[in-house]
């Protein structure tokens, strides 16, 4: 029993000594299986768990609480033992006593408190009847200290209730609708039927006036014959058919305008009212649940028939061309959209030009401008040429550079001299005679019209950080390299997990590994060299003194070993990387390095994070800075004083 007790304790200790937000499931399973088969183990576990709850570290307490919950939900003995000290447990996990606040890492502490409250609620709802202590604790936290309980069960029940309510209401509505349908079924049908009839009459009138209803059938026959008899180009055939169809269609004119208007009205009625209402009724009939299915089925059938009929009528109408207005509106819409696009483009270019003109930092370079001019010429030429064959033109267009709009384009490529004093207006100058024939030479004009462009930085799409946030979602910050909150920016998947973290790690590892290997090889080589030299020396010595004794040789070997060690050290220490690598090797050699690192992690959770405020405080509130400030202030005061009372010393 004694060593068994150590076992469960050790297991709990191991399970709680972690920085993970969950207990290791394997350890948990081990604890459960140990505790399940032995009551004494369970007692020990209770003691151990309460002891761990007293640890001055919220993480340990949190993990312990998770284990407690697991056992509490399972073992009756555990429950009876634990509720004895429930107030203590709550003090340690909820931290409701002011003189015993929860220990250090505050984030884990809040997590611990929330979890404890949640667990207490769960325990109370499932075992409250058996344990007065649970009821008391729950009541105290809820009614005296007014803690907010998550109220999981009540919430779930409420949601369920609401959903049921909603369903019931929708059913009721459906039923009501169904009843009204029962009453109005015949009238609805009649109405629709009358509309359909009217449409049919209208169509008949239209067809009769057109007198070309026969043509279509004949045409079709023709087509079929043609197909069989002779080859024609399918395009031509298509065109012909279209034209024939178009011709076959009855067009609106002054005679049948009234009929078309009526048809259009009816069509509108059909589409916007009847078709929609029939769809609705069908859906109602499908969803409604009634005891008497006969009426439902029959009416459903009717409605489906009506719908099909309506659709066919609608199609007919469309064929006859009464749905023209709708199509035109569509086209208009499209047109409008395109225009909008163009406008947008224009405005964009204009704004760009404005920006260009307004900018002070104009970079102008003659050679560059020449290039653009040349290209521009090409472009112009190509435009001229491009009318005949589109392919070379497009090729050239693809080659040609984009030139921004500017005033220099006004006299692009002209090599004329410009009259300097011609403005198109005859103005008497008061400044003396004017030489109207003064000419600005072409070179000068070219110089004046030098094409200036502003350097534009290439727009780079800056990657989002996309690190997962605590409240859900991904970090939307765009930083070049390092996000101030989430560190270096790495490509991440949709959940915010870094895509190639492991890969990069491996790479790094392999990098360092190769370095290590190199260093080691170097060291080995050095050692080998030295050893060879040593061997040479030794051989010489052996040749010299054959009568050497074994002891002396051993001594020599020892010295040699020492030399080797020194040399290896030297070789390894030659690069800093290799030195650290060596240390790593040492560390991995020593057995419980991982254990130590874990403990460090637990302790590191307690360490306070250095905030920018701290750093500023360190800078600004140290004695040196303070003294300097004071000195400055006093000197300024002195200066003031001296200015105010210059005669006093």
């Amino acid at each position: 029993m004694e060593e068994g007790g150590g076992k469960v304790r050790a297991l709990i200790e191991k399970a709680t000594n972690s920085t993970q937000p969950e207990v290791d499931p394997r350890l948990l399973k081990a604890i459960k299986s140990v505790v399940r088969y032995s009551d004494s183990e369970l007692r020990l576990a209770v003691h151990a768990l309460m002891e761990f709850m007293k640890r001055d570290h919220s993480q340990v307490r949190y993990l312990t609480l998770l284990i407690i919950d697991q056992l509490f939900m399972r073992s009756k003995l555990f429950r009876t033992l634990l509720v004895e000290n429930l107030d203590q447990l709550l003090t340690l996990s909820v931290g409701f006593r002011r003189n015993q606040p929860l220990p250090a890492p505050p984030s884990v502490a809040t997590l611990l408190r929330n979890k404890a409250i949640e667990f207490l609620e769960k325990w109370n709802s499932s075992f409250g009847i058996q344990y007065r202590q649970l009821r008391l604790g729950f009541d105290y936290l809820k009614n005296t200290l007014r803690f907010q309980f998550p109220n999981l069960q009540a919430n779930a029940a409420r949601i369920q209730q609401e959903r049921r309510e909603r369903e019931r209401r929708s059913k009721e509505i459906l039923l009501n609708k169904f009843e009204t349908l029962k009453e109005n079924f015949s009238s609805i049908k009649e109405e629709i039927q009358s509309t359909i009839d009217e449409i049919g009459e209208c169509l008949d009138i239209v067809r009769n006036t057109g007198e070309e209803s026969m043509l279509l059938a004949r045409l079709d026959d023709d087509d079929d014959d043609d197909d069989i008899e002779e080859f024609r180009s399918s395009e031509l055939q298509q065109i012909r058919r279209e034209t024939l169809e178009e011709g076959e269609k009855v067009h609106e004119n002054s005679e049948n305008k009234v009929v078309f208007d009526a048809l259009r009205e009816l069509y509108k009625l059909l589409v916007t009212k009847h078709l929609v209402s029939v769809q609705e009724w069908i859906s109602v009939l499908v969803r409604v649940e009634v005891t008497d299915n006969r009426f439902r089925d029959s009416s459903l059938k009717d409605f489906i028939d009506i719908r099909n009929l309506l659709q066919s009528v609608k199609k007919k109408c469309e064929e006859s061309g009464c749905s023209l207005p709708k199509a035109t509106t569509n086209e208009e819409e499209e047109d409008f959209w395109e225009e909008g696009k163009i406008e947008l483009n224009k405005s964009g270019t204009v704004s760009a030009c404005n920006r260009e003109n307004g900018d002070l930092a104009i970079v102008s370079e003659p050679s560059d401008s020449k290039i653009t001019v040349r290209h521009g010429k090409k472009k112009l030429e190509s435009e001229g040429v491009g009318t005949e064959s589109s392919s070379p033109r497009s090729k050239l267009l693809a080659e040609a550079p984009m030139v921004n709009w500017g005033p220099y384009l006004d006299n692009w490529g002209s090599k004329r001299d410009v009259l300097a004093n011609q403005r198109g207006l005859e103005l008497e100058s008061h400044w003396g005679r004017v030489d109207y024939d003064a000419v600005i030479p072409a070179e000068k004009i070219a110089e004046l019209n030098v094409h200036a462009t502003v350097y534009k930085e290439e727009q780079l799409e800056i990657q989002q950080c996309r690190a997962p946030l605590r409240k859900g979602g991904l970090c939307q910050r765009r930083d070049l390299r390092v996000c101030p909150f989430h560190g270096p920016i790495t490509p991440r998947d949709d959940e915010g997990k870094p895509l190639d973290q492991n890969l990069s790690k491996d790479e790094i590892a392999s990098d360092s590994g190769t370095d290590l290997v190199e260093a080691e090889q170097l060291a080995r080589q050095a050692v080998k060299n030295v050893r060879a030299r040593d061997k040479d020396v030794a051989r010489k010595r052996e040749i010299d003194r054959q009568s050497m004794k074994h002891a002396k040789r051993a001594k020599l070997a020892k010295i040699r070993e020492h030399n080797e060690a020194v040399l290896r050290d030297a070789a390894l220490a030659s690069t800093s990387r290799s030195a650290t690598a060596g240390e790593d090797m040492m560390a991995s050699d020593s057995g419980n390095a991982s254990d130590r690192s874990k403990k460090q992690a637990l302790a590191s959770m307690l360490r306070k994070k250095v905030t920018p405020k701290d750093r500023l405080a360190q800078r600004l509130l140290n004695t040196k800075a303070r003294d300097a400030t004071i000195r400055q202030l006093t000197s300024a005061e002195d200066a003031n004083y001296k200015e105010a009372f210059p005669s006093q010393w």
Partner: protein, 449 residues
Amino acid sequence: MWREIGDRETGKIRPNLFANRIKWNRTERLQLSNHKDIVSPHKGSINSLQVDLTEGRYLLSGASDASAAIFDIQRATEYEGGGVIAKHKCIFSVDKQHEGGHRYSISSAIWYPIDTGLFITGSYDHHINVWDTNTTQVVVNFKMPGKVYRTAMSSLATSHMLIAAGTEDVQVRLCDIASGAFAHTLSGHRDGVMTVEWSTSSEWVLVTGGCDGAIRFWDIRRAGCFLVLDQSLSQLGRRPPILERSATTKVSTTKSLLTSPSSLTKARASQKKLANGSGMKQSSICKFPAKGPMRQRLHPGMLSSQDRATAHYGAVTGLKVTEDGMYLLSAGSDSRLRLWDVASGCNTLVNFETVRLQSSKPIQLATTQSSDLIFVPCMTTVKAFDVWSGKTSLTFRGHYECVNCCWFNFQDQELYTGGNDRQILVWSPSQLIFDEVDGPAHDQDNWSD
């Protein structure tokens, strides 16, 4: 247990012994009752609890929200959880809204000892109200000079109906219900009086404990107190060693219980014997009074008021006389519990393993009928100490804040405790195994893996 019943059947053990054994066994198994809940209507801490002395059925509670409530602890008002949990709701409660109700915290609520027709509440609003239980009206009202800390009535009294009231004031007042006036004013304390307790052996003897740390014994038939307990006077064991000197004092004190005038002369005589160094407590008085003439002018009954001996460092917060009236247990704000031999007035030096006692409020102690165990509120827990050895025998954890009062019901061996967390908890003997079967079946082990 079955053996004992067999023994009783065959007449091997006496009925009294049998009953006591059963009671003792039940008391040993006290634990938080899961089957009896008292639904507290109070919105403040519970300051006082008492079950009536006649029927042992009605629990009276007084709370800091100026409300008092009465519960029937025998018959539950409703059941919960499939009839497992019996809820006891109050039969009625009186609070601030009541026309005769107190305005401030009720510090003490006690039953009239003879029947349940009256109960008495003392409050921090300087008033003591006597209520008619059946009409829930105030029938008598006493205005006190300060906050009332504790009221007490003698359960033995046949010739008087006096309420002893300990208040902020230094004087202990005895209020007569019959006349509605103060019958006595007992002065001697130098500070407020936290607790008052009537002797269980004599209807005339009153014990008071003050904030000055003194415990005084009064015989209400005469002026002044006749005994002041001194913590430095001690004896080992339950009886003082039979010495000549202590024997004389014992005679004097015991006599004083019976006839006061004679003890007076004794006291004066002992004072004259000061030079001889007869060093018991009554003689130690004379170290303080400075002048001879002053001493002579003092009323003989007031002599002991000069005695400044203290029973505790700090205030005396709780007093309890054992059922046989031979011993007095006192709790102080120095977190000590002392057992005094009333006969000798000595501290018996029993070391109670208290941890810490509440010091700001008076606490209400309780003993079992045989006075083997004393129940003491120790901050958030209640502890049961063995009276003679001072060992902790039981610890009751259940309250989440300080416990103020407890009451042990002799009849069915139940303990009631009330605390600052507004709960009245019932601690009852744990049920035997065969009783537990009827609980809902789902409190079982549930190992899924």
